[in-house]
Amino acid sequence: MIAKELLGELLSIAVSTGGDFAEIFAEREHATRIHLVSSKVEAIRDQVIAGVGIRVFCGTKTYYASTSNTTREGLLACAAAVAGAVGEAGERRHISLSPDAVAKRHTVKHYPDDVPTKEKTDILREACTAARAVDERISQVDGTYLDSDRAILVANTDGLCREDRKVRTRLVVSAVASAAGENQSGFYGPGGGVGIEFFDTVCPRSVGARAARQALTNLTAAYCPAGTMTVAIENGFGGVIFHEACGHSLEATSVGIGASQMAGKLGQQIANPKVTAIDDGTALGGWGSYHIDDEGTPATRNVLIENGILKNYMIDRLGARRLGLPMTGCGRRESYAFEPTSRMTNTFIDNGPDKNEDIIASIEYGLYAKEMGGGSVNPLTGEFNFAVKEGYIVRNGKICEPVRGAALIGRGSEILQDIDMVGQNLKTGQGMCGSSSGTVPTDVGQPLIRVRKITVGGRS
């Protein structure tokens, strides 16, 4: 992407004014987004994203400059800009780079650019047509097909010089069911860190049908009652509870500056002993997987919590400096326009000791949250929220009538102790996570779990 000699020159300029470390991140991404609504392909966004970011460290202070001007002049100006922010001109030193390759484990059979766009529109059409066919009350279907082929290069003054190519494919369907002047919606959006072969195993028709069925379920659902209840949260995207309640609080972004409920708690029992949680950037073909992170560090399988005991944080390069702990390969960014920081990859609660049927049978009165939406958290206090997209009342150990329109809220440190049953059907779901380094693809996951007590934000 950039010649080795020029990389060395840019790094040399960047650290010439007092910095103790400099890093160059370059990327070129081709992203396709096809939008279908009212049974018509409405728009195709066909975008090339390309640019460079140069970062300099002075201890734990950071300086960052980025540009979409990737000409030699543009890059030299970018390096000079970041150096100028650090201090006065000083001596230039020679930077020697040692390019190496990280062993490839994720394979791509069909790269997005090798597949005609027509095939992609057909996949999307198939999914949306299937959604409409589920029931005549499906009044609108909005579908999006997305793929991305992103090449990155990272070089730094430690001599690191690595490249990676990350391919992702996703299909998202939103369905609306209407009756008696009321709308209800359903959503399903599976994705993977693979090429178009994603659809060898994921049937577009079933994606559309699943979104439609959720909308129809909600159409017949009453509002969820409000109050504190026992809640069983299903596998897959249900893992958003760990992502919000705990995951963000384990990122060095907040831990490293002491602004996390989890700071200083390594080795402590922070969760119920049934809870083991892992952030695995190496998961084969995972939505949040890669070979190297956006700082050039190889991805790892990072055990965060083992049998309830906090074992590690998610640590990027700056976080490693702040915490004095090793990097875990989780420095991520949306694009070159963002400075990287510690982020989740594929984060999940591992299978536990309880049988799924026992979990539901144990609930006298509560909520079964089958499908979850997104959420948010304040890492400082651990107060979090996330939305239930499809829920059912549980009465006397049986799943009963559907209910809709509820958020679940709580405090991370309390909820982790209140996860008192962990089932055995681990599965992941795909989402987009927003933070200071932009929006990045992340997997969440878990088996069916039971939370002893949580506030359910329904109607009173």
Partner: protein, 448 residues
């Protein structure tokens, strides 16, 4: 590369390809920021990012392609890419590119473009905010972050029908987040302003006051409540649901406001404008994403829906006239519909008067996870909240760990009074301004 040169390359490539209807949209942003943490400068960033998109009509279909690589070959390649994409889009109606008229009047921005500060000035603001936060209370602790920044965005739009427009706007911001600990629990407060002078904006003190006020928050009993939404949270809620006014969403059956023009959809105390030239907003915009002049218009007047928002295509399909609300989220995004400044008109009540009118209820100062807890298609919301109890018309202690739930379309009808103190946002070309408001009959979930 200059826009003129970009335009030349793309227009030439388009003519060579036999195209007659096309446009070129360019957007470039320069961002500058400085952050400080725990008494020290912490980070400094400078970036320029942007790109260009090319749209064309082929056999009644619109195709587009975009790039950030502003090099001759890459730009010329946009034309065949856009043409290939057009072939895959389902034709609906003849695509429309705007033909400029001799009597078009593009509004004049009323706010002077703020000067872009130097990195040193921004660092000074961030550090001064740090000093003021730490000076405001002994409870302030590590994790306290402050920032100052500026952004300048240039937009150019030209088409094959003689349209050629450009506009540049800028904004500045300062941000203060105070982290405090009283020995038993942490708390935080945050404030933002378009004013870089820390003494003038007062955001450091505001953040600390907010953090202290939040300490000792008590749970709330589940039930129905009257609530006063703070101006900041009214802004957040109305921003989340601003898409319901899109004529396109209505046309697609994705907004329950479809067909409701000239009917009462809200309490008579509610009036909302879309104002591209909103006073005080430095990110004013004289033309929309298709090049149509922008104007101020009432969306809701005394509770009656006056109009939805339209771009050229949606207006033609639905028998309306464009309202000049074609929106481009970035250089690469397809044209959608959005307001510029979604401005809720102020009422006459002060915040204290709203509390007096409410008597007993909750003052909501935090709504969290709006992106997840709100559904614009159904209007349903269920949102994590925090704030203060109000008893006998007076603030009576912090409350937290509850949700407010309801339906936005019902909430619009349950607005009992609108406050007079409007808060405006610091954001790009699409923003929301709103005062606090008193809302009746809101479901709250807390403890039993």
């Amino acid at each position: 590369m200059s826009f003129e040169r970009i335009k030349e390359i793309l227009f030439e490539a388009a003519r060579t390809a036999g195209l007659t209807d096309y446009d070129v949209y360019y957007r470039m942003a320069t961002d500058l920021s400085a952050e400080a943490l725990n008494h020290e400068p912490n980070a400094s960033a400078f970036g320029t990012a942007g790109g260009v998109s090319f749209r064309c009509a082929v056999d009644g279909r619109i195709g587009a392609a975009s790039t950030e690589m502003l090099e001759e070959g890459e730009l010329a390649a946009l034309v065949p890419r856009a043409m290939e994409n057009a072939a895959l889009v389902d034709a609906d109606e003849e695509p429309i590119f705007y033909t400029p008229k001799a009597d078009d009047v593009y509004g004049t921005v009323t706010e002077a473009k703020p000067a872009i500060p130097t990195a040193t000035e921004l660092r000074h603001t961030a550090m001064e905010l740090q000093d003021r936060i730490y000076a405001a209370s002994d409870l302030v602790t590590d994790g306290t972050e402050t920032a100052a920044g500026a952004c300048e965005i240039s937009v150019c739009l030209a088409n094959s029908r003689g349209l050629s427009l450009s506009h540049s706007a800028a904004m500045r911001y300062a941000y203060a987040e105070a982290v405090i600990h009283d020995g038993t629990e942490p708390s935080f407060g945050a404030a933002m302003s378009g004013e870089l002078d820390a003494a003038k904006s007062g955001i450091a003190e505001k953040a600390v006051t907010e953090a202290i006020a939040r300490l000792g928050g008590k749970p709330v009993k589940t039930g129905k409540y009257k609530v006063v939404l703070s101006a900041k949270q009214t802004r957040a809620l109305f921003a989340t649901f601003s898409g319901i006014y899109s004529g396109k969403q209505a046309m697609l059956g994705l907004s329950l406001l479809a067909g409701k023009e000239n009917t009462e959809i809200a309490s008579p105390v509610l009036t909302i404008y879309d104002d591209p030239f909103y006073p005080g907003n430095t990110m004013q915009m004289p033309f929309d994403g298709e090049g149509v002049p922008t104007t101020k218009k009432a969306l809701v007047e005394n509770g009656v829906l006056k109009t939805l928002l339209y771009d050229l295509t949606t207006a033609k399909k639905t028998g309306h006239t464009t309202t000049g609300n074609a929106h481009r989220g970035s250089y690469a995004d397809p044209v959608s519909i959005s307001s510029f400044c979604h401005a809720v008109a102020p009422g006459s009540a002060t915040l204290d008067e709203l509390f007096t009118e409410m008597g007993e209820g909750l003052y909501i100062t935090e709504l969290k996870g709006m992106h997840a807890g709100c559904d614009a298609v159904t209007g349903d919301f269920s949102i994590e909240s925090a704030g203060f109890a109000v008893k006998e018309g007076k603030l009576a202690g912090a409350v937290k760990a509850f949700t407010v739930a309801g339906n936005f379309f019902e909430l619009l009808k349950n607005i009992a009074a609108v406050g007079c103190e409007v808060e405006t946002g610091v954001s790009g070309f699409s923003t929301v301004a709103a005062p606090p408001m008193l809302v009746l009959d809101v479901s709250v979930a807390g403890e039993e």
